[in-house]
């Protein structure tokens, strides 16, 4: 214990000294200038769960694998790193032992306090966090965040769900009522209601990101209540998809493609395409460009995508979904356009007001749209 404390103090001293030295050189500009461009770009990825979970971590791992194929990139990763002091140790060892220039701690809970604690010690290393927590001015300059508007893909999936449901009841198994989850639920519901106005989405919050037994129970309960299309926002959608298939209802996927798990009922899915953003980052670092602190993008930018439709999806539904997709691709689609009420009847967005996708207000969403059966209160 004593030894590790000593080490940490030394690290802090080193970090401050380095920061001071760099500061004197004038500005903390980016790694491209510190490292020679002829070296390989060294990228470290940290996952909270297993690499092959059919879900969130697999989507990131697929991105990492794509960037690792470039011969001028050296990418390494560590899986199943808890959101505790463990991730700080992992970040430090990736920097010191592997020589990482840029770190991608991909889990929501890595940011505060872990990245915020380690980043100031290594001012010339980039810490790019996946999620919406970075705030300019408030957080260290070598920290940044990137995230995809997967809710755009959820909107399209919602259209497919709304077009294919017979009962008009959709189901959503969600982990926790945080803004990103609520945004997915709302977009899914708005998508479905855009073509079937009386459609409802029944939400069950399980309380945590990976609880296979409770996710299966939630799916069964929803099916018992008559829902006939289900989707989810949990770390690994595997259980929800296989349970839905067993009960003979439709499902739409999340994170990455689960069509293999439910060949009969998997209508479509909202997927990440992290390969694109990791390639972009690698390229910027190699060329010595300044890496932006905030990167966002949706279908248009190629950060997310909609899975291929199942053959059971009818032509008219395909057409409506493709039309919405095209509007997203052209940038003409605005999902949050008033009047929009929440499910308690309150006017959240009055008529005439609209929020474009990049609006930061949407990243603090704490309400559920009309048509959702569920509550954000725990």
């Amino acid at each position: 214990m004593a030894a590790s404390r000593k080490l940490t103090r030394r690290q802090v001293l080193k970090g401050t000294a380095a920061a001071g030295a760099l500061g004197m050189l004038g500005g903390l500009d980016w790694v491209g200038q510190v490292w020679g461009a002829q070296d390989k770009v060294k990228m470290g990825f940290i996952f909270v769960g297993p690499r092959d979970d059919y879900g969130y971590n697999q989507a990131h791992f697929e991105g990492k694998s794509a960037v690792a194929k470039l011969d001028w990139v050296k990418a390494f990763d560590e899986e199943k790193v808890p959101e505790t002091i463990e991730v700080q140790k992992t970040m430090e060892s990736m920097i010191k032992l592997d020589g990482a220039q840029v770190l991608f701690p991909t889990s929501f809970g890595y940011f505060d306090p872990h990245i915020l604690k380690v980043a100031p010690q290594f001012p010339n290393i980039l810490f790019l966090h996946c999620g919406g927590l970075y705030q300019e001015g408030k957080h260290p300059k070598n920290v940044g965040s990137y995230f995809g508007y997967i809710d755009e893909a959820q909107y399209v999936a919602g259209i497919v769900a709304g077009g294919m449901t017979k009962s008009g009841k959709l189901g959503f198994v969600a982990a926790k009522p945080i803004p990103q989850v609520l945004r997915n639920i709302n977009n899914y519901t708005l998508g479905a209601r855009s073509i079937r106005p009386n459609c409802t989405t029944n939400v069950i919050f399980t309380g945590d990101w990976s609880l296979p037994v409770r996710e299966a129970e939630a799916t069964n309960s929803l099916v018992d209540q008559g829902i006939d299309v289900i989707t989810c926002h949990v770390d690994s959608p595997k259980v929800v998809m296989t349970t839905a298939e067993k009960r003979g209802i439709y499902c739409t996927g999340y994170h990455c493609n689960q069509a293999k798990l439910a060949p009969r009922g998997y209508l479509t899915g909202a997927e990440w395409n992290w390969a694109k953003i990791y390639m972009d980052y690698a390229d910027m670092i190699r060329k010595g460009q300044k890496v932006p602190n905030l990167v966002r993008g949706g279908l248009k930018e190629g950060l997310v995508r909609v899975a291929d439709y199942n053959k059971v999806v009818t032509d008219s539904v395909r057409k409506q979904a493709d039309a919405a997709k095209a509007k997203f691709m052209s940038g003409a689609m605005i999902v949050y356009k008033g009047p929009i009420k929440d499910n308690t009847g309150r006017d959240v967005i009055p008529a005439g007001k609209q929020y474009v996708q990049t609006d930061i207000w949407l990243e603090s969403m704490d309400w559920l749209v009309e048509g959702v059966i569920g509550s954000t209160k725990s």
Binding site: F205, Q225, S378
Partner: protein
Amino acid sequence: MEVGWWGVLIAVLGGAIRIGTPFLFVSLGECLTEKSGRINLGLEGTLVMGAMTGYAISLHSGSPWLGVLCAGLAGAVLGALHSWLCSYQRVNDIAVGIAMMLFGTGLAFFLGKPYIQPSAPRLPSIDLGGWSNVPQLTAALQINALFLIGIVVAITLGWILKNTSWGLKVRVVGESADAARALGLPVDRIRILSTAQGGFLAGIGGSYLSLYYPFNWSEGLSSGQGLMAVALVIFARWQPLACLWVSLLWGGAAALGPSLQSVGITYGYYIFNAIPYIMTLAVMIITCSPRRSLVGVPHELTVTR
């Protein structure tokens, strides 16, 4: 068909069977082990190891039942290892149990890496609800043969412990090792056998998780069910048949949270999800008394000695 609020009852009934079955196997295993005077906290690891082994064997052989058998055998090996370590002087079975728990889960995660992606053949289900024209009830009464086997094991185990000479030996060893030695009983051997059999049952419980419900091998599969089963045995007062009722009760309680949300009770789901634990605490408090000791507790257990 609209079931509305009946859906909650159906979910609790179905959940009792679906979620309760692994609890039943693990608690029966722990019950036998504790009757012989040992506590095996490692059953959490055994459960996870069983889940992994069952899934892997089912995938490679194509036979989920062979998977169940191998899961049991893997559990028996872990149980025997635990008991063998504990048979040395002054080895604390609680500490060894915790070590075995970490060892079992760690080993299962290590060996189970290649099995997260592929889909193994699933255990078949039996339709007990064919008489009903309510599809929800039919689905809830789709059960797995392992549940029926579990009931048979619970009854048989109770009968064996009470009526056979083997059961008497196990109980004597659990009540007083000194008395057992005076009778010339091989204390260590009986304990090793009981713990290995207990591990066998827990391993089968694990294979139920991965091969039937929720039918998935992943590292978050167990989430403490092996540990809960240890508390469940105390709750059931070391009676195999009571383990059956308590497992069903816990399974039903675990199904309550999600099903209440599905009918629109959207507040307090963290509390509803915690009902099995609240229930345990409540029963423990209600049934405890300073004037008498627990009925049925084996006196050789380290926690009661």
